[in-house]
């Protein structure tokens, strides 16, 4: 133990710093919540700003957000030393703690915004399904409709009206959810890699970018799987939003970088060295070049050059995938990178990821697959493409 751990250190670290505190699971947490916030914001575009072109993705985006939101607290729960005490965050929250509010923000977002909005949007469909089916299925759908059996014009109008108001509340809530996750890191003055007021806003825009990319990919994948043509007007519009959001995100991260380099405060040399060595692959290659510059350039090409449908589809698929990898790398660089250097600025440690342990790679992979399993169930229960089929 002695030799193995101290051999991970270059230079000097305070002895208690050698072991990393937050593992790959804590990387997943902002990644998952980011996807939720981003997917929801895309869905809201259709509803609040009446962007008709993205309508085919509206329900899929909502269900995707829900599937990922259900999984979002699981990595944290697994990571806790005493998960059985996590309820204390609700019962006796410490009001000065940035982390204590997570439970409330999460619950608010899950129950008050997402679940309610999805329910209102689907209620009429659920009632119709309940009426058309028998036995257990009928009971299930009746329960899902909370035993409402009203399909009148008026009831649908009410659903729509309340849903609209909810979406309006939902947008700042989505901003809150992810801006808040950024604040958890950005407010730690002891850590110069994290401590910046830009952190919440960088997190927010990277969340929007990743959520849009995810919904874009999900939509294209479901179309291919269902052998229906991809609505090009829809993906073109989503890609345009992805491009705009990406430019803002990239600029914000660029400002942060430039500011650090120009100020070059006491932490700079240490962080600079870290980025050029230990974080080179994940920061320079994955986050900045392949997960940032390349998709931005490709998307820019689609905006200025007239390309064939096939070429655009291919570019969107590649950009979506690169974006998701790039944002995951960004979360990794924030969470893991923030623990690799000593707060004495005199040394570095190494993160050795385990595989089949509580906080290893295996549970991380399973936790990344789980939202898709949940989404598959949700899609089965609440088909998002009903309108397309009935057309």
């Amino acid at each position: 133990m002695h030799e193995s751990l101290t051999s991970l250190v270059q230079g000097f670290m305070y002895p208690n710093e050698v072991e990393l505190q937050w593992s790959v699971l804590v990387v997943l947490y902002p990644y998952l919540t980011g996807l939720v916030a981003g997917a929801f914001i895309l869905a809201s575009l259709e509803r609040v700003f009446r962007v008709e072109a993205v309508k085919p993705t509206y329900r899929l985006a909502l269900l995707t957000a829900l599937a990922f939101l259900i999984v979002a607290p699981l990595p944290l729960q697994l990571h806790l030393g005493h998960p059985e005490r996590s309820l204390e965050m609700y019962l006796t929250p410490h009001t000065s703690s940035a982390m204590a509010m997570f439970g409330f923000v999460y619950l608010w977002y899950l129950m008050a915004v997402l679940v309610l909005e999805i329910w209102l949007d689907y209620r009429a469909d659920i009632v119709t399904t309940a009426r058309a089916s028998k036995g257990l299925k009928r009971q299930l759908y009746r329960a899902m409709a909370l035993w409402s059996d009203d399909l009148s014009e008026e009831s649908r109008r009410l659903d729509d009206k309340v849903g609209y108001i909810l979406t309006i509340i939902g947008i700042p809530s989505a901003f809150l959810l992810h801006g808040y996750v950024g604040f958890i890191f950005g407010s730690i003055k002891a850590n110069p890699w994290w401590s910046t007021p830009l952190m919440p806003i960088v997190f927010l825009f990277s969340a929007i970018v990743s959520g849009i990319a995810l919904v874009l990919l999900m939509y294209m994948a479901t179309c291919v799987a269902k052998r229906v043509p991809i609505d090009m007007r829809c993906v073109d519009t989503i890609a345009k939003y992805l491009f705009y959001a990406f430019i803002i995100d990239f600029t914000l991260e660029g400002i942060d970088l430039l500011h650090r380099m120009y100020e070059a405060d006491e932490s700079f040399k240490s962080l600079d060295f870290m980025v050029k060595t230990k974080l080179f692959v994940s920061q320079i290659l994955l986050q900045v070049i392949f997960g940032g510059l390349v998709p931005i350039l490709l998307l820019a090409i689609t905006q200025v050059v007239k390309l064939s449908e096939q070429a655009r589809k291919a570019i969107y698929a590649v950009c979506g995938a690169l974006t998701l990898v790039g944002i995951l790398a960004m979360r990794w660089n924030v969470v893991i990178g923030g623990q690799l250097f000593s707060k004495s600025f005199l040394g570095y440690t190494t993160y050795k990821m385990d595989f089949a342990t509580k906080e290893g790679l295996l549970p991380a992979i399973l936790l990344m697959i789980l939202p898709f399993v949940i989404l598959a169930v949700l899609v089965k229960l609440l088909p998002p493409w009903q309108e397309a089929e009935t057309e």
Binding site: F12, P15, H79, L80, E88, A98, K189, G338
Partner: protein
């Protein structure tokens, strides 16, 4: 008659429910105060520490005493207190050469030669028991707190093990105890100081480089020390209200 029976059942029912609660409450009363020091009033004290760099010889007594007294895991990643050795070549205080083999637990093997053009000194480190502790601020459930007598403590029966406080401490003074999966840190030997004793590290320091002091006790020698020495806290830019003052602290120390 029937009313009597009803009354009896109601009273008996209440008794049945209340007995375990009363028993639990009585057990709590019998256990005495948490600090188990009947004569000790938290409002009468305000604890702090002064460390005289010039006096530290890097023997590691304090580290050993602390680990023994407080049952700190012996592995080299867990310390409530540790000692660092600084070696600062002339004019390069931004890049001191620092080491702390096993936290100084085994003392320091000879590494530098006298007259090599650099200055060498030891810096004992310990929780600064900050008056505005960033670690206390971030705890999501309030499991870590500043006691009224100025000591930052942890309620281990309450700690979630989320490790946010470890991230928030600018000095690296916290670790997760692998046996309990909860956070652990220096308590200024709270079980000792509430009984009129000093901390294990101060008790065993052969040169008196560390001194625990009670700032609310006007007769405590810490007042004279603070008056007659030029003192500094670690990372003053962090504005944590640190109550561990160093005398003779070099600018290269971080």
């Amino acid at each position: 008659m029937s009313t009597d029976r009803r009354q009896f059942l109601s009273a008996f029912g209440k008794l049945l429910i209340l007995t375990p609660a009363a028993a639990a409450a009585w057990e709590y009363v019998e256990a005495g105060k948490a600090e188990e020091a009947p004569g000790y009033r938290t409002a009468d004290h305000w604890w702090a520490m002064v460390i005289d760099i010039e006096k530290c010889i890097g023997c590691g007594n304090c580290v050993r005493a602390c680990k023994t007294e407080n049952d700190v895991p012996l592995e080299p990643e867990y310390f409530r207190t540790w000692v660092e050795r600084y070696h600062v070549p002339e004019g390069v205080s931004e890049h001191p050469d620092v080491d702390s083999p096993n936290g100084g637990y085994d003392g320091f093997p000879e590494k530098y030669r006298p007259g090599d053009g650099a200055k060498s000194f030891f810096v004992p480190k310990i929780c600064n028991h900050c008056a505005s502790s960033p670690c206390v601020q971030v705890c999501p459930v309030g499991a870590t707190f500043e006691s009224p007598d100025g000591v930052v403590l942890v309620d281990k029966s309450y700690c979630l093990g989320c490790r946010y406080c470890v991230q928030a401490c600018p000095y690296g003074c916290r670790y997760i105890d692998p046996r309990t999966e909860t956070v652990d840190k220096c308590t200024f030997c709270y079980h000792r100081i509430t009984k009129g004793l000093t901390t294990a590290c101060c008790e065993t320091c052969p040169t008196g480089a560390r001194q625990l002091g009670d700032l609310k006790n006007p007769k405590d020698p810490i007042h004279e020390f603070l008056r007659t020495h030029k003192v500094q806290v670690l990372k003053p830019q962090m504005a944590t209200g640190s109550k561990t003052w160093y005398s003779g602290l070099d600018g290269s120390v971080r």
